[in-house]
Every structure is written in C-alpha cells, then in structure tokens.
C-alpha cells in the first residue's frame, strides 16, 4: 500500500506543474500589459520610456520559461504580487482574507450534504419503491434541473423577505450561515442521494447478502454490518470529491448572499480585469483539487482490505 501511495503522490507532481503552467499561460494570453497597469495605478503616466523601464523592472522581457520559473518560485512562497486594482494590497493578502469565509461556508454545506444524503439515500434503498423513495426520486430529479442560484433566490425570498426569520446577506453567526450553506448543499444533495441509493441497492443484490441471510443473520446486521460497510467505501470516495466542487460552487452563492469569500473575490477580479487575483485563484483551486483527489484515493485504499494488502 505504501508503494501505491508513493506512486499516487509522484503522479500528482506533474499535474501540479500542469495546473501552474495553465494558470500562467492563461493569464499571459491577455492583451493587457501588466507594466502599463501598474504604472497607471501608481498614478504615473505611462509614457513609452516609463513602460519600457517598468517592463525591464518586472522582468517581462525575459524568455517565457524564465518568467514561468520565476513566477512559480514566487508562488511557492505565496508571493503573488500586488493586485491590479490597488497597489497597496497584495493578492496573497486578499486571498488570506477571504479564504476562511469560503471554507466556513463549504464546510457547513459539506456537513449538510453528508448527513442528509446518507440518511435519505439509505432510507430510499431500504424502502425501495415506497412512497418515500418515489417522492425522493422526484425531488432529486427536479433538484438537478433547477439552477442553484434560483433556489438560493427562492429561499431568500421565502425566509428572509416573506417570513423574515433569516438575514439576506453578510456574515456574522449561525443565522447568516444557514441560507447560503443550505443553498450550496442542495445542488449536491440530489446527486449524492441518487448515488448512495443506487450503490446500496446494488450491494443489496450481492451474493454475500444472500449468504448472510442463509446463515440466519438478523436483517439489521446484514444491512448495517455488510451492505452499508461496503457502500460507505464508495460513498466516502464520492463525498470526498464533492469538497473541491463545493468550494468551486461557492462562487455563485457568495454572489447572491454577499458572502465575503474567494468566489466573490474572483468574480470582482474578473470584472476589474485584476489578473493576478484570477491567476492565484486558478492556482489555488487547482492545487486544492489535486490534493483532494489524492486524499480521497488514499482513503479509498485504506478502507478496502483488498487494496490495503495488495499495495
């Protein structure tokens, strides 16, 4: 198993390079000259000499790979430079400011997704084709067709405006967290309920269930001791993959509920043409994704005795 983990880590390294390369290339494709922008925001008129001098200073005339190397080494030290909009603020600083809020939101949403989809998925599988199961399947179907921002707006209208029990925006405690977290989770709950339900039903048709019944095991033991244990294996893997998706999905939710996270930072950066911020966002999201993949793979390996010993 140690060999497997080592191999997975090795494979991740080129991927990490890949994402950093893509982040770097993407932003270098833009027609805007960073030298000019920096001069402008420092209130210096960008004459030709000033621009050329600034380009020298920033090392923009170096060959492509040299620039990439320099950028990469600076990024590893979390030095992404200053934002394009305000010379006094660093990109790293902005991200550090907004990341905790996003993590809080994603964490809350993850908790909701795990609890609700496990409970509903297992119940649907146990009482297959019952009224509850069919109602859930209808909800899941409708849920995947609804745009999540629309659900957010509807919930906001219902709870914040009509019933006036929850605030519409901003942070500041549990009350503020509920609507955004619930909205964010709803998108993924539908997918996972269906996944868990189908996985459990598949496992219930396995031969070891028949054999367990033939040995006279109680229904409860069979379901929780065997079926669920085998299902959890797949479910944990799937739920683990939802973490980066949740973090990516915060973009829209933060926009609606004015939640000060990196999603909102990225959107305003896109509108302000603040390329260093966009670049850092891509890099961070990519790295996070790769790490989550790796963690989930390792967890998957640890949980299955067949993979654990084979290594």
């Amino acid at each position: 198993m140690k060999a497997y983990i080592a191999k997975r880590i090795l494979v991740s390294i080129p991927l990490l390079f890949g994402i950093s390369f893509i982040a770097f290339v993407l932003v270098n494709l833009i027609p805007v000259d960073p030298a000019e922008v920096i001069l402008r925001i420092s209130d210096v008129y960008p004459t030709e000499e000033a621009v050329t001098e600034m380009r020298e200073q920033l090392g923009l005339n170096d060959p492509f790979l040299v620039r990439y190397g320099k950028w990469l080494s600076k990024s590893l030290r979390f030095d992404f430079g200053a934002t394009f909009t305000n010379n006094n603020r660093t990109v790293a600083g902005e991200i550090a400011r907004s990341l905790p809020a996003t993590l809080e939101l994603a964490g809350a949403a993850l908790a909701i997704v795990v609890v609700v989809s496990l409970a509903a998925g297992i119940s649907c599988a146990l009482w297959r084709n019952s009224l509850f199961d069919r109602a859930m399947r209808l909800l899941v179907f409708v849920g995947t067709a609804m745009p999540n921002y629309w659900v957010g707006l509807l919930l906001m209208w219902l709870f914040a405006l009509k019933l006036d029990v929850l605030p519409t925006s901003g942070t500041g405690g549990m009350k503020h967290l509920i609507l955004p977290a619930v909205t964010l989770s709803l998108t993924y709950i539908s997918t996972y309920i269906r996944l868990i339900r189908n996985n459990m039903i598949e496992n219930m048709n396995e031969e070891y269930v028949l054999y367990a019944d033939a040995r006279g095991l109680r229904r409860k033991t069979v379901i929780f001791g065997h079926v669920l244990r085998n299902s959890l294996h797949t479910c944990v893997t799937a739920l683990g993959m939802s973490v980066p998706q949740l973090i990516a999905g915060t973009v829209v939710i933060e926009n609606i509920f004015a939640w000060p996270g990196i999603g909102r930072l990225c959107i305003s950066a896109i509108f302000n043409r603040d390329y260093p911020v966009i670049q850092a966002y891509i890099l961070i999201m990519g790295v996070l994704f790769i790490f989550c993949n790796l963690a989930v793979d390792i967890l998957h390996c640890l949980m299955d005795p067949r993979l654990r010993r084979a290594g």
Binding site: E207, Y211, A212, D213, A214, G216, T221, H226, D304, R306
Partner: protein, 281 residues
C-alpha cells in the same frame, strides 16, 4: 416415520413488470428422510435453486411461493420471519455455489464466524475464536489461527468452500442444503470437495439436499434423485434406478448425453492403454 422435510405442491412464481405472474416452479413434491441425501438434478433454469431457496424463505422480492413445506411438522411457508431466521444457519444450513463472492470482502473469516455465532445467541469473543479454530481444524485447514485473520480474497476457492461447509455445520444442522457447491471449482478441487462432503455426511449424519447439474457429482453422494426440467419434477427415485433405467424422456436424454461422453473418455483412455502396451514390447 415422518420424513424430516416434506414438500407438497410447491409452486414459485415471479411477478413480471407487466404485473402478470410467471410460474417458475410447478407442483414440486418430495420427501427428505433423516440422514438421507436427496439429489436434485437439472440444467440451468430448471428451477432447482429456486426450490431450495423457497424452502428456507430466501426468495427475492417479486417472487412468491405456495404449497406446503413441512420441516419436522412445521410449515415453513407460513412461518414468521423471525422463526425462519432462527432455523437458518442452525437447523437448516446452506452452502452456496460461489465461495469467492459469498463472503463479504470487507470482513475476515473470524468476523464471519463470530457474527454467525452471535446471530444464534453465542456472543462471547473468546468462544468465537475457540469455536472458529476448532471448526477450521475439523475441516482439515492448516494454520487455523492465521486463516481466521484472513480476508476472503486471500484464500483460495477450495479453502473458502471448506470454511463455508464448516460454517454450515457449526450448530449441527438437521438438514444441509448444498446449492451446486462444486460447480465453480476445477475438477481436482471438486474431487477433494466431494470427499469432504462424504466425510461430513458420515460424521454428522445430517440429511442433505444436494443440487447439481453434474451426474458424476450426484452419483457419489445422493441416495435418491429428483430430475427437474422447466420447473417440474420429471423423474423421482433411487439413484441407481434413475441413472440406469430412466423412465421420462428428459431423464433418458440426460443419461444418454452423459454416458456418450463417458464412452468417448473411456475410448480415449483405452487407446492410450493399448499404445502403452505396444510401446512396452
């Protein structure tokens, strides 16, 4: 004397998607006396597995059974679920066809033994380990202690089949139902397995219901034979009588096909013998 198991007019049907029931097993009737082995012979789809499963109440969703299944006087088809559960594994045990998929890949052998014991009231862990080792040793498995800690994928098919037989005998069942236990094994392992099963029969004196499509296997263990074809019993009787003078058309067909294969096998062996004889001159 009343037979241990008495099956009368057992019918199993499945309800299809359109709501109409399809009969899968029709009017099956037979007796199993104490200590005797009844073989059920038939090809795939003849309904032999369904018959066995319906006896212990393990039909899947969408299937229903009717008729009478009397085990020591109790009608199993009308018994409560909990009553059936207590019978299974203790008084009526089963061994299944594919040992590789019958064990939960996430649970060790010890785990399987312990949960079987727990299901029937024996909850001590020490007891589980002791019983487990004794059972494995009785099934002629070496290194019993280390096998206990193994996961199913670490053991061979033959060994898992032995564990399965051992598990079936834990509580000294009165009836052992074997649903094609040798079908998934290669011919050498099959031979070993049949030796084990014959030994089990001698030592435990339990009645057996042995399902197979292999005449050779049945001939080595069954006393009486039922031949099933398309859900119905087409021939019933003592082993030798059914094999040597089959009355029904289907049984005759099965015997003839098998004996022609055996004749070719013997002829092939015979030519080797004469060649050997010639070479030794």
């Amino acid at each position: 004397m009343n037979p241990l198991l008495r099956v009368r007019d057992l019918c199993v049907s499945a309800v299809g998607k359109n709501g109409r029931p399809t009969p899968l097993v029709k009017n099956v009737s037979f007796d199993v006396e104490e200590g005797m082995c009844v073989g059920i012979l038939g090809e795939s789809g003849s309904g032999k597995s369904l018959t066995c499963r319906s006896i212990v109440g393990l039909l899947g969703a969408g299937c229903s059974a009717s008729g009478e299944v009397l085990f020591q006087g109790r009608n199993l088809l009308t018994a409560r679920r909990e009553e059936l559960r207590r019978l299974r594994g203790a008084e009526i045990s089963m061994i299944l066809q594919n040992p590789m998929t019958s064990f939960d890949p996430m649970v060790t052998v010890e785990g399987h033994i312990a949960e079987t014991l727990r299901a029937h009231g024996r909850t001590s862990r020490k007891d589980a380990v002791k019983t487990g080792i004794a059972m494995l040793e009785q099934m002629r498995i070496d290194n019993a202690a280390s096998v206990l800690g193994c996961y199913p994928h670490q053991l061979s098919g033959g060994m898992l089949q032995r564990v399965m037989i051992g598990l079936a005998l834990l509580f000294g069942p009165k009836l052992l139902i074997a649903d094609e236990p040798t079908t998934a094994l290669d011919s050498v392992t099959r031979f070993e397995m049949m030796k084990e099963i014959r030994r089990v029969r001698r030592e435990c004196a339990c009645a057996m219901l042995f399902v197979s499509h292999d005449l050779g296997v049945l001939s080595s263990v069954a006393d009486t034979v039922l031949v099933m074809h398309r859900g119905e019993i087409v021939e019933k009787g003592e082993l030798r009588k059914v094999f040597l003078s089959p009355k029904s058309e289907h049984a005759r067909y099965l015997m003839e096909t098998r004996s022609s294969l055996v004749r070719r096998f013997r002829r092939a062996l015979g030519s080797v013998e004469t060649a050997d004889a010639a070479a030794s001159f």
